[in-house]
Amino acid sequence: MTPRRWAIPVLIAVVVVAWISPPAKAQGSATMYFRSPVAAVVDGQIAPGEYSGSFLDPTTGIELFLVHDGRNMTVGLVSPGTGWVAVGFGPPGVLMDGANILIGYVSGPTTVLSDEFGVGFEHFADTTAGGTDNLLERAGTEAGGRTTLEFRFPLDTGDVRDVRLLEGQDYGMIVAYQSTADDLVTLHTSAAPVSLTVERDPNALPTRVATLRLGSSGGEVEGDNVALVATLLGDDGAPLSASPLSFYLNSSVGPGPLGTVETDVYGVAAVNYTFRSPGEFTFFVRFTGDSDYLPARANLTVVAQPAGGQASFFTTDLAIRFVVGAVLGGVALAYGYSILQILQIRRLGSRAKRAPGRGDRTEDGTPTRGGMSK
């Protein structure tokens, strides 16, 4: 058969195999429970109730026990083999590349466990790249063809090669084992990705300080639109996404809400504002905080210039003040004129009183008045 004749049966076979193959198993999901204090003891043996729960990965058959106290995680791994067993932590969807890998084996009385990092399909000890081995405790046992490894490791080591795990966040994991080889280099027997949720301390108060910045872009002229752009960053400098930010315009009667927008993946949220008049405008944006981060606020003052072709605010204001003053002055003058007439009436009355024969009351009761009764 020529290669061309081979191609068609192979293609058919591939399609048929793909068709009849069982669908890929859904990725498992494990939880790292919060317990304080942690009851688990790193002794290479997992007693019932030592951990709050476990997760059995259906692909590899590895059973995971995960618990943390807010500072350190305690992990138990039980593999269906006697060779090495490993777990790697990283962002959601992580495989080996970029994962913080803890890998080890039990050989007789010796337990080997190493803090490593993944690059492509390889892994290296942190110590080879300027990092440190951050394992706090480690222990392992082999029994019944199964290997049990336990270790305690900081959630945040500060090592650039390690992944910091935050409470309440989701991460990715990879678990793998080798059925017989007590080394760190033989290809795995089975490996699978697992998603991980780090349970939050239900009583924890936020302590972290976010950075919130407010800037503007666009025209700063009366009648123009300006975009108010806020950026929210975590204390590690990483953007905080999906966080609601509320924008306000500060006014003499209090803050006027302009809108609430969620930050995007870059930690950015923006609203538009139209300057209805020239002058100084003070905006502010508020982040109400979450379980990790404290509330934050940022201010921005923008001076909108008068629109072209219009009289300056000062000129208009002065003209209005003059008109108002003139009208009020006119009314006051008219009132004054009426009061002056009253004074004239009084003066004339005084003169009539002094002059004999003026101001006497007539006997017939006609409207002439002025004299007191005798």
């Binding site: 008219a334 009253i342 004239q344 009355g349 009539a352 002025g370 007191m372 009764s373």
Partner: protein
Amino acid sequence: MGKILVTRLEKRLMLPLVRFGPRFWIFTAALLAVIAWGAYAYSVQLREGLAVTGMRDRVSWGLYVSTFVFFIGISHAGTLVSAILRVTHAEWRKPITRLAEAITAFALIVGATMVIIDLGRPDRLQHVLLYGRIESPILWDFISISFYLAGSLLYLYLPLIPDLGTLRDKMPRRARIRRWLYSRLAARWGDTPEQRAHLDRAIAVMAVLIIPVAVSVHTVVSWIFGMTLRVGWQSTIFGPYFVVGAIFSGIATIIIVMAAVRWLFHLEKQILPVHFRNLGLMLLALDIALMYFTLSEYLTASYMGASRDASWLSLLASGPYAPMFWGMVFGGFLAPALILGITRARMVRWTVIAAVLANVGMWFERYLIVVPSMAAPQMPTEVATYWPTWVEWSILAAAVAGFTLLLVIFSKLFPVVSIWEVQEHVSALPKTVPATQEAIE
């Protein structure tokens, strides 16, 4: 002791000033009791703060501001009606102008007091002058009301001068304090032609000037609402709408007070059915104009169907304010129009009933302008609730009692019908009854 000669008309109009029956004392005591209770309620508010009212952050204007707008409206009664009739030389006006002018001054005093009561910190009233900005309608309001009050008092005083001269000369000698008071206030009136010329000049100036001042007052009051970005308030017709409503409620108040005075002081020969008829017809005309403005205001908002307008209108038409809204439409606007239209204001009793309905309806209208717009949410949130507390109701009752008491005191100090103007009017009539002279001690 010599006798003082008075005409029958003078005697008729001066008698209420010297007669104090038990009915007067009981009524005055009742008014004072209501005012005292209101003062106690205000002392509670001063001590505890505005938290004792139903007002909160969402509905920060309630009964007080509604009543302020209502009384400022009533204040148009007088001066405006009196001035317009004076400028147009409507001779029939003469027996009613004094009452109208007094109503104006007292309604302004009570209305302005309501604003001060509405302040959580009344001691900061001075800040309006010290730190007020001329761009703010609040300051415009303060200025226009101050000018209107000064002008109204002046306009009330000017036509009083000749009567004060009469009272100074013809009050019984035993009323020494009052004679002293009249003597001080009479500006040495001797009814000389020169004095008359000065008086006519002053009245003419004030009559012309007070009309734009009065119009400006309620226009500016309307702008406090109309220039605010809030559903139900932002409207271009609020200026004329408020002015028409103000004159409407003002005339209604004149009719009510006129009827009370006529009945209490037996002034059936001075305040005639024709006065009720003329004012009733004016009330009818203004009622029709007010209904037109109301229809225009609400129809425009409902036709456009903006979501905020729709939710505000639903509050009025079918929400918690519906009884008051439909009460205003049917009881305050339509019913007076029907009564006055059918009777053509020929019957005093029905004209008074129409006036009472109109005033109640106008108070509802003021409340409905202020409160539902504040209760309607500015943000996507629930409708705010507001109901006045006993403190607010007590102060409202005290305000009405205070207004009434001022009128009662005025009617016991000064003739409620202008003696000299009516005398002039009677003298000018072809079939004048001779001015019979009588003597009083």
